[in-house]
Subunit: 346 residues, 2 copies
């Protein structure tokens, strides 16, 4: 039982392929095809389980109704949830989405983009690695529908949807300072990605505002490439070298999870020995005891906005640059208690 084609239906109904095509695309009324023909074509199409061949359709029309999404790692909590929202939102407009992981790896990222390009996505949603700048510029030059998410390039004129990363870090450090913490460390990734730079700036500015001095020795930059076990060890070493650290801001979910492992290995108790705030919420942070305070991202808003802008580009040719910067939400749990004031002279 081969798949039925327009030709099959045409033969069975005695009308032309043209007419069948018009009817099945719902343009029968408009093109004044007689009701009897419309009815007959529809009946036969149903009986033959007709489903249009998408390749033929795409080859002819150039449209695929498929969006490409490139993230660092689909198994990461933040991106996994974002992907789900994106899928849901895209579906509302009749689009499906292809997910790809760049693994923060130059080769992989460009390869994955090439594949999507070959499959001719109608639009692209990308959390770009730094190495993708040339590709992103090319996409823009070719006027392809594109929205960057989670981060952007300052010298690329693309629409994007991101968190106010500066504010997220600033608020966290400010909160730490108000709670009485004095030696606030930053554990971040060794990357020039814009969102990490902004978090770094927010960290520094909040220190300054609270009259705490910025010490490079309290900042640990971990390489993206390292394996998880190595990162845990790196963080342990860092913390051992500076036992005066009384609070840590982790700039990513993954770093936070590994950092908790380091703290456990060192026998340091969160809250009692050290304050912790982490970027991005997850189950662990929510349910750990003590619960971990986090800067949570409005994942739903990010996904919804990104899809809306992208669809607007695709369907309404609205290529105007849109920059959406969403507010982070500092969720206070148990990992950031007020510090007892040190009473020096009793």
């Amino acid at each position: 039982m081969k798949k039925a084609s327009l030709k099959d239906i045409a033969k069975k109904t005695g009308v032309s392929v043209t007419t069948v095509s018009i009817v099945l695309n719902g343009n029968g009324k408009e093109r004044k095809i007689s009701d009897s023909v419309i009815a007959k074509v529809e009946r036969v199409a149903e009986k033959l389980y007709y489903r249009p061949n998408q390749f033929a359709k795409s080859l002819r029309t150039g449209k695929t109704f498929t969006l490409g999404l490139i993230v660092d790692d689909i198994s990461n909590f933040f991106f996994a949830h974002l992907s789900k929202i994106v899928e849901e939102e895209a579906d509302k407009f009749g689009y499906t989405v292809m997910f790809c992981s760049s693994e923060n790896d130059e080769g992989k990222a460009r390869n994955v983009l090439k594949i999507l390009l070959d499959k001719q996505m109608d639009g692209y949603l990308i959390a770009p690695t730094l190495s993708m700048l040339p590709d992103v510029l090319q996409l823009i030059a070719e006027k392809r529908p594109l929205v960057l998410i989670d981060r952007f390039f300052q010298n690329a004129t693309a629409s994007y949807v991101t968190l106010d990363n500066y504010k997220g870090a600033y608020d966290s450090v400010d909160y730490f300072a108000n709670q009485g913490y004095r030696n606030i460390a930053l554990i971040t990734n060794e990357t020039e990605q814009i969102q990490m730079k902004e978090r770094f700036e927010g960290y520094k500015d909040a220190l300054k505002k609270n009259k705490l001095s910025f010490l490079p020795a309290l900042v640990k930059k971990v390489s993206f490439k390292s394996e998880d076990e190595k990162i845990v060890i790196q963080i342990e070493k860092f913390l051992k070298a500076r036992p005066d650290i009384d609070a840590i801001l982790f700039t990513s979910n993954n770093l936070g999870v590994l950092g908790l492992e380091s703290l456990r290995n060192l026998g340091k108790k969160v809250a009692r020995d050290i304050g912790v705030i982490c970027f991005d919420d997850n189950d662990l942070f929510r349910l750990a005891s003590p619960g971990i305070s986090v800067i949570s991202q409005p994942i739903k808003q990010i996904g919804k906005n990104a899809i809306r802008i992208l669809i607007d580009q695709i369907e309404n040719k609205d290529m105007g640059q849109k920059h959406i910067v969403l507010s982070p939400n500092l969720v206070i749990r148990d990992s950031t208690p007020a510090k007892a004031v040190a009473v020096s002279a009793l």
Copy 2:
């Protein structure tokens, strides 16, 4: 700058489209095209940034080099990680994969499969919901490459890769019993899915082996459809009704996470007040204190095996049924300490 086609290259090089096609598919040598022509065609193709149009190719050949993966929920820890492995493995064979979530919803599941069918995947990897049985039977009838994962249908002759779910549950309950637990509860989903039924059987048989009686009142079945908050409340009610429960086996990751929330709300401390084992590992269980003992699935093995079998079906037409049942791994952490023996008569 339009995309270059074979025709463009043919025109520029002065040879026929046929020859260009042969050369660019790497069959030049074999078809004895002269070296000079091969060189010229390749040079021009590169200069024009030639990339073949996949629709035209697929329309002609019927192949897409794309696999469809349908899971419950891509943002779930187990499936997110499985998806990543699947993507990696598929890539080794030159295939990309389209991910879809069924949301354990009848309508969504069938809709998503229809979309994949329309896009003509070369093969299907499915964690099927019960409602998908007819669709799965249809896929089999049409002899489409298909591997079921995580669960299967007893009356569908499909290849599958799953965990030995019976053993996972059996080992857990047996371990509980050996540690001195006596009132072991099962918290599971209200579903007839085979993997849940097997876990239920393993639970019952291990009770019997340890001469503990099976009490329906110690089993809580939660509806798939419930929202997370409602599940938390349901579990709380269940635990309050049976304060004698001293251990719980959760049959899924999600249930376990919500169950921990219920326990926390009730003020029950894991390990001290109640033993806990959960199906599927995740960051929370690994890093919580106390750490949660789990039955971990060999995610890598599942993904690798599934892809291997699927590719074998696609490329070697090996449609023989393969059933791979992988061994679970009981990882003991701190949530299952030995119970002090009650000394009744001192």
